[in-house]
Amino acid sequence: MAAAAILDVRALRKSFGTHDVLRGIDLAVAPQELVFMIGPSGSGKSTFLRCLNRLEEPTGGSIVVDGVDMMAPKTNLNAMRRRIGMVFQSFNLYPHMSALGNVTLALRKVLRMDASAADAAGLAALTRVGLADKARSHPAELSGGQQQRVAIARAIALEPKIMLFDEPTSALDPELRGSVLAVMRDLRASGMTMVVVSHEMRFAREAADRVVFLEEGAIVEQGPPGLIFGPEAGARTRAFVSEIGR
């Protein structure tokens, strides 16, 4: 592991009432690394991602992003959140704005860019996801795959240090997933650090540096995809992978 991790999580815990969703997660992610998280539903993968930018308030532990302690009271959360791109299962595009409006809102209101600079940066981000021609379209006029790519553009326009993907293709029909995964591959190739929660095992095999298997709020096993998806993996990992692979 490189010394200067972009993301360094230690002993992260999260409880909802008496239910412990995360039971002490340690995870360090190096620059340009793609960490892929798998696990049964309810294992805490999504909660883990949502704790990283504190959309969900962790119960305990530490999170350091690009050298900044996310849990420190003096940390400017809004300033940090724009350095942590997040892509949601349900896209969550703003339905009352065009694709370009979705991408430029934070550029204008958080980075305080003027309209023309924001539009230029927004168009550049839409171009990266192959949707420059849809800049004026509203979300309802776009397919699910296109909506998710706009959501990715919305995140990368802010030039984040790390991107979090929370089941980005789970709400999509199979034939629409490819375009989203292709954009994610491009991002990876451009050197983006990524943490991906997903069931796209083929993508994990091809693109992940490391696969982390999470169960009942704890990391059971982690390693390169060849190990996790191979015969040497632990019994629980193998059981889960074969279940998904069917």
Binding site: N53, N92, Y94, L105, A106, A140, A151, R154, L158
Partner: protein, 226 residues
Amino acid sequence: MQHSIFIDSFFKPEIIERYAPDIARAMLVTIEVAVLVVVTGIALGLLLAVVRSFRLAPINFLIVIYVDGFRALPPLVLVLLVYFGLPNVGINLPSGAVLWLVLSLVLGAFAEEIFWAGILSVRKGQWEAARSTGLGFAQTLAYVILPQAIRLTVPPLTNRTIAITKNTALGSVIGVPEILNVATTTQSFVGNATPLTMGALAYVALFIPVVLFGRWLETRFAWRRA
């Protein structure tokens, strides 16, 4: 003849001609009060809904008490209570101001509840997406949540606004020279129902355009939902 009795009782030409200017002046009073009530009532409702979304328990408790109280009480009771009660504590408001104040508070209460329901109906993912890009709470509310919430509130808010502005007729019990007051006064003066017919027609002339405007707003603000 039956026919002419009907005309003479409800549409007597001489009376219409003679009192049309009075009714027209009363219409202006009704319009003036109604417009002011719509502006202040909706502004108050929106302001309170925004304050409520910050979820400060003691403040929200007060808002809920106000909202439920003013939604529960008949506006006529409030009009009489304020008009005859305030002078006892040394506050003398003209009857028109009392009518405006009471109806604004009533519309504000209903509008708050409608805006609040709109804010709550915007999916949580919208908040999360906006906050994850670094937008603050107030920015998210202003640019992402309220534009969607307000669209959802247009139909119920239009209906409620029409219902409450029609209550300007309550001004007749405290002497505001609005349509109903002038119509009833004239009716007892001339001993004929024609002024009341004129009043009814004045209301129709005023509120049909408002209803149509509400319809237009609903189509204007509807957007294709994902």
